[in-house]
Amino acid sequence: MSDIAARNAALRQPWRSLRRQREGAAFGIWIFLGSEVMFFGCALLTFAVYRSLWPDAFAAAARETNITYGTVNTALLLTSSLTMAAAAEGAAAGLRRLTLCCLAATVAFGIGFLVVKGFEYQEDITKHLVPGAGFRLEAPQAQIFFAFYWLLTGVHAVHLSTGIGIATVLGIQAWRGSRMLASPAFEALGLYWHFVDLVWVFLYPLLYLGGRS
């Protein structure tokens, strides 16, 4: 199939040109990410308020998190952003094998993150770090820290799982040839993936490094 035909197949209503359509996909994702910033920003602001209200309890609680798991996960996720960027650029350049390999690596890193996170959650539960009766720490405000720990990492994991799901679907479609590499979806996925990564860049110091200096 010629290049022009491939490009026409990727063009959808109501767009007049593929370049415009690509712009539109990126633009739409950027707006959506603005919305996501406010979503996480709301929780981070609430966290900041409590942290300034109860600095000692929050520092003591942050020391209970497992910094090894946290650091390994940070490394995994940052590396996945590299492969995701390569996949998106590869798709834009029409390099099929590079795109597929990098997408697969991205999915693998993402799943690796979730697996490590699962072990970490298990350890947190056995260490009684779930807020409520029998909580490990004495200061009641430390429970608020762990409320945010569970909530923020949980919401982040949901976002990451969404990203893994979309990356898997796009990878399969590209492998079968039912989605053209020229499709703007790869760039859109890349933007979303980097955002989820960026959220973790905020969560890691707030949840793992606090109280450890």
Binding site: G34, S35, P131, I144, A147
Partner: protein, 560 residues
């Protein structure tokens, strides 16, 4: 006074070609459509249902308040009734109404596009909306919520007996739909405008929907997170706002109102857009101060984010915070006033036709002015402390949301009905309904200002006998108001079959949506439009008077 309806309608049926309504048939062609016009109609059907559901709550409230004693509802049932009324009306009627019905239908037409930027996302957002609506109905069937639509903690997290989780989930899910639609609108306005349609040639309705969408994108996620926090605290017992473990319930109020005050502008900004279209068309005048109208919309949507604290003057926040929020609330009133003045100035020396949409528009301007000015009373700390949580507040926000937004919705529906359906509504009945809505509204809600000022608190199902006369007046007015809401539904439905066929431009209006046939073809325009002039070019000066045969007045603008 037969109006322009009769004079403009072309006698005899014009040659019919397949419109978006007739191009495809069958249930699947509707439920799987990606045509923004059909999706708008899907929204119209769903939102009408929710209007009835939320209205049922209002009926229960008004019947209960007819007498000072509790005779229809228990205290608990009354709590559930007003909460349900609030939740449904805010998130399932007011917020989606104008953007998702008129905005969805008109935005691509007004900017000369074939469709919204992401047609499939548009359909998905309708299904998400329906899922959220299903959750809301489930909330009602499973016993309802008794917290008030504001979901204040620690009532919601620790004490409420209602189904808070389902209600929070319903509102949370509806937020996805809102954000999806808003992203779509913003991308469409940026990327799909017709050649020559520069930003400052956009109709004000497009500007209003655009600004509303920005507020939606930035405010709705905050509500989503705060609902998630409540959900987590109530369902899993993790303490976020629990005062026993160092949590701060006031923080919830800050986060909630950070969303919910901008949400007021989500509800009323689209109405501004509709009214600007109606006033210009029926006064046959260019809008006065177009640029300032645009700046006012943007100004409102920006400063609207900075005034949330005026809901919390008695919450115990610092006096300094109260003063700052009070000042900012006065500042946000300035652009609203600019809009009212500019609409009024647009009428000056116009050739006003009192057709139904214009009556709705004039009603809007009056009611919105009262609602806005009483908002200034409430923005002033001493007055607010006196009337906090009284019927004064109830009256104020109903003036904005019901008197304002619903008047604009009905006016807009009448105005664009020929474009949507290809049929003309019966003008006489519509005028009657518009006038009745204005008076019914006044009878229902003006007494609330008085009894609120006298100290009648909101959210009580029993009250001292001295307030009964006002409550009876309000309940009687609500009957008129209900009739004014139902009557248009009747004659709109009637017009679908017996209404006269509408020509492409029955009102002689400017705007790209009137340049295509009524109803438009599936691809919106037979030939892609090119724009060469600004909006509202009634009486173009270079053409000299009269631009249209019936306009015998002198041209607007500076005399040579």
């Amino acid at each position: 006074m037969s109006g322009i309806t009769a004079e403009r309608a072309i006698p005899g049926a014009p040659p019919r070609e397949p419109s978006y309504l007739t191009a495809k048939t069958g249930l699947a062609s509707w439920l799987l459509t990606t045509d923004h016009k059909r999706i708008a109609l899907l929204y119209m059907a769903a939102i009408t249902v929710f209007f009835f559901v939320g209205g049922a709550g209002a009926v229960a409230i008004r019947i209960e308040l007819f007498t000072p004693q509790a005779d229809l509802l228990s205290a608990d049932a009354y709590n559930r009734a007003f909460t349900f009324h609030g939740v449904i009306m805010v998130w399932f009627f007011l917020i989606p109404s104008i953007p998702n019905i008129l905005g969805n239908f008109l935005l691509p037409l007004m900017i000369g596009a074939k469709d919204l930027a992401f047609p499939r996302l548009n359909l998905a957002s309708w299904y998400i909306f329906m899922a959220a609506g299903g959750l809301a109905v489930y909330t009602l069937l499973s016993g309802g919520v008794d917290t008030g639509w504001t979901f204040y903690t620690p009532l919601t997290t620790a004490f409420s007996n209602g189904n808070v989780l389902a209600a929070a989930a319903a509102v949370f899910v509806s937020g996805f739909s809102t954000i999806a639609t808003a992203v779509n609108f913003i991308a469409t306005v940026h990327l799909q405008r017709a050649p020559g349609l520069t930003w400052f040639r956009l109709p004000l309705f497009v500007w209003a929907i655009y600004a509303t969408s920005i507020v939606m994108v930035l405010a709705t996620p905050v509500l989503a997170m705060v609902l998630a926090l409540i959900f987590a605290e109530r369902a899993f017992g993790i303490p976020i706002f629990d005062p026993l473990r160092g949590g701060d319930p006031i923080l919830f109020q800050h986060l909630f109102w950070f969303y919910s005050h901008p949400a007021v502008y989500i509800m009323v900004l689209p109405s501004f857009g509709v009214i600007s279209e109606l006033v210009t068309c029926y006064a046959r005048r260019r809008v006065f101060g177009y640029n300032f109208m645009v700046y006012a919309i943007l100004w409102i949507s920006l400063v609207g984010f900075l005034v949330w604290g005026h809901h919390m003057f008695v919450s115990g926040q610092s006096l300094f915070a109260s003063l700052a929020f009070s000042l900012l609330s006065f500042i946000v009133a300035v652009p609203s006033a600019i809009k009212v003045f500019n609409w009024t100035a647009t009428l000056y020396r116009g050739q006003i036709v009192f057709d139904a949409p214009m009556i709705y528009a004039l009603g809007f301007i009056g009611l919105f002015t009262i609602g806005g000015l009483t908002g200034l009373f409430l923005a002033s700390v001493p007055v607010d402390i006196h009337v906090t949580d009284t019927y004064f507040v109830v009256a104020h926000f109903h003036y904005i949301m019901v008197g304002g937004a619903v008047s604009a919705l009905y006016g807009g529906l009448a105005f664009w009905w020929p474009k949507i359906t290809g049929r003309l509504y019966p003008e006489g009945w519509a005028r009657f309904a518009a006038i009745m809505m204005f008076f019914g509204f006044g009878f229902t809600f003006f007494p609330m200002f008085i009894m609120g000022y006298l100290g009648m608190p909101r959210r009580y199902h029993v009250y001292p006998e001295e307030f009964q006369v006002w409550h009876v007046l309000a309940s009687a007015g609500a009957v008129i108001l209900a009739f004014a809401y139902l009557l248009p539904m009747g004659f709109f439905a009637w017009s679908l079959i017996w209404g006269r066929r509408a020509p492409a431009n029955p009102w002689g209006a400017t705007g790209l949506e009137w340049q295509t046939s009524s109803p438009p073809p599936e691809e919106n325009f037979h030939t892609p439009p090119v724009v060469e002039q600004g909006p509202y070019n009634y009486h173009p000066e270079h053409a000299g008077p009269p631009a249209l045969e019936r306009e015998q007045h002198q041209p607007q603008g500076r005399q040579p």
